[in-house]
Symmetry: C2
């Protein structure tokens, strides 16, 4: 049903022809050297027009040009604009007893594309950030090897390098949601994930250099931070695609991310990506460390625990609109966007529902589609201003499909903290605001 008020671009133009408006725009003309009418966007296909704005162009144009700005010597290392000061990592103080063994969250609702800027990659520490002088740092290989070795940073940079974009997700991401919607914003429900390009060397080359003995089946990776973070990793994974990374998004690793080197374990839970990496020990069985027994295992309803559930399941979330990023432009042409990822490879398809999962439509994936990397999806639609229950559901190239939260709970109960990849729901109200809600499926 057409809306005469908004569907007709000519009407939109005519609608502006009131004297005061015309005067303002004449001013704009003089300043900008061209005639100007307010925005009138006819939606693609049938749809409502974008709302119009009364601020005259002239004030904007003049302000920006009154004075020359900073020169090229003012900002040796650049920072975001003052108008982006709220785009930051945020922690939840009541979540943990000490900020040195805690987590903060990536502001997913403020980002787009697939690259997470280094300054906004979420942090998870177990003893605070280790500050290491790379000149003094070493990586040791010992245990069931022919030659036990110690490498300096300079040594490591002499091996052949590779560049890969991978997501890193904490196994506890969305963990609060097992027991129902808790945190109001995708930064907090899904912000323990980031996606960067790593430059580093293959673990395989280092282990082959040391010479793994036939009985060597597991590798203990150890960090140099105060928590002495350690995880047991099967030799097959280490020999397959694991990396020792020294750069992220082109520059040196950030201290929060393990400077000068971290282990990269593509597609597997973030806790295994040992930061401030200092040692590989080769052994014949797992070490049963705290982080792979009492932590990072999944306690089921019957008291049994799933162990070694390293591979991150297919998952997605709508980042906009969301509780921290409401719709502010009113009805009409609207962009829904979000992220999808899988530890099992590329994302094959993302569907979006506007009615809490009753009906699904395929979203558009745009940007590089890379193995074990987040994918960016968009769903462009014409919002009629009514309430919505928006959800996204991802499918990976192996055919795994993201389950509903109810399906997850039916299979695993609600004791779990880790590995929640359930479908997330945002309730969009008529005023465009959004809330974290549950819908039964």
């Amino acid at each position: 049903m057409k809306n005469e008020e908004t569907d007709n671009p000519r009407r939109n133009g005519e609608g502006l022809e009131n004297p005061s408006r015309r005067t303002l725009l004449r001013g704009g003309v003089a300043a900008a050297g061209g005639a100007a009418l307010a925005a009138g966007l006819a939606a693609r296909g049938a749809g409502a027009a974008i709302s119009q704005h009364a601020d005259p162009l002239i004030t904007d144009v003049q302000d920006w040009n009154r004075y020359p700005g900073d020169g090229v010597d003012a900002r040796p290392y650049g920072l975001p604009s003052q108008y982006e000061k709220d785009v930051v990592r945020r922690d939840v103080p009541w979540l943990t007893a000490d900020s040195k063994s805690s987590v903060n969250f990536t502001p997913l609702h403020e980002l787009d594309g697939i690259i997470t800027p280094n300054g906004l990659c979420f942090e998870r520490h177990h003893g605070g950030i280790a500050e290491i002088n790379p000149v003094d740092h070493r990586l040791m290989i010992n245990g069931l090897v022919d030659n036990e070795l110690v490498f300096t940073m300079e040594d490591l940079k002499r091996f052949p390098r590779e560049n890969r974009v991978y997501f890193l997700e904490c196994a506890a991401n969305s963990g609060m949601e097992w027991r129902g919607s808790q945190l109001n914003g995708c930064q907090f429900t899904h912000g323990m994930v980031h996606n960067v390009m790593y430059t580093g060397i293959r673990v395989r080359d280092l282990l082959n250099e040391a010479g793994v003995k036939p009985e060597g089946k597991w590798v203990l990776a150890e960090g140099a931070d105060p928590s002495l973070m350690t995880r047991s990793i099967p030799i097959e994974k280490m020999m397959d695609d694991c990396m020792v990374a020294f750069k992220m998004n082109g520059e040196a690793l950030r201290e929060e991310q393990g400077y000068p080197i971290r282990l990269v374990v593509p597609g597997w839970e973030g806790n295994m990506w040992i930061k401030w990496l200092r040692r590989f020990e080769v052994g014949d069985q797992p070490w049963q460390q705290r982080e792979e027994t009492s932590k990072y295992t999944d306690l089921l309803a019957d008291g049994q625990a799933r162990r070694f559930t390293w591979e991150m399941d297919v998952k997605s979330v709508i980042t906009n609109p969301s509780p921290q990023a409401p719709i502010t432009h009113g009805k009409g042409q609207t962009v829904i966007t979000g992220l999808a990822w899988s530890g099992r490879g590329k994302i094959a398809r993302v569907d979006v529902s506007l009615d809490g999962g009753r009906n699904w439509q395929e979203a558009r994936i745009d940007g590089p589609s890379l193995d074990k990397s987040v994918h960016r999806f968009y769903f462009d639609f014409d919002w009629d201003g009514s309430e919505l229950l928006i959800q996204s559901r991802a499918m990976d190239e192996q055919g795994f499909i993201q389950p509903s939260k109810d399906e997850l709970r039916a299979a695993r109960g609600t004791n779990s903290i880790y590995h929640n990849n359930g479908i997330q729901t945002w309730y969009i109200k008529q005023d465009g605001s959004a809330e974290n809600v549950e819908v039964s499926s």
Copy 2:
């Protein structure tokens, strides 16, 4: 010819078995929970071993663990480690009269992979950095269109978005090299290039919204900075792949790069990528602005000038080793790496020469190969410690091959400042240091 001193890993291990060394390493064992020998890397295939280091592991291990570090609330927006403080953009004060109309350079020799971090993307301004409040910013479309329009930032974000990784190179990059080697370091000879992922909308959608009249053949893009930067761009390019970008590498554009919006003109010279974009005017011919007549044209030996040479030619440079990044590890296994790019598409092949262009060997391209994006190449070789003249030569998917500087000068003389894509030579001395030199071809 084998070197008994260095080629034999067992000898390397045995070489460490002197009393003092053994004591240190026993200490290391206790602290790190495993036996440790110093590094002995046998090069892949036949080659020299990596030099060894006497610093014991134990001191490193203990230091990093004496105290817990910063918590997750300490760094809302993260910055590089203090040990990376020299990794910055640098300007050359004598190059221009005023830093507000000047350039600084990306530290290419400190980076790897293909993404340039936002804080290190080179800057080129003609009136300093405009500081714009996005709430008050507007984009106007006027001239030969059916409906002249003004868009707010919120309006623009309602159009369908896309994500693309593109290089941006200033036409004057390597400009000093026309008259012989001048600046000693790839940051200064080639650092007017960066490569980021842009998120934005298609210019095509905006122009179609306004409705371009049949006689509309050119678009004037205008910036809101004090220099009122303006360039004329053919309508075909604008309708093809140009974007209005509002994000780079996931976050909002940096002010130095045009916050809140810049024009993206894939593969074409950087000066056309109008920053602080405020207006598109559609016309029937180019505007003959300063930046497309007296500037950004190529004056030939006969006094004639090449005009509208927008497409950036195929080019490459070795970033390591280079004058700012000498070889410090001595002979043996060595990594040569660099960047290659072309305004005409993907890079098909990069060759490396160690002898000033007499002999060439194919380099390994690693990482995503994307249209009109930089490509990262590596050449892993066994340096015998003798002098080298290292060069790289790129070929793009259209078959264009990077020329020698002599070939360029024969065709265009030496009046030019812009569009130098000649092959660069670094002279590597026996001590590993490097110099910017010329070799006749």
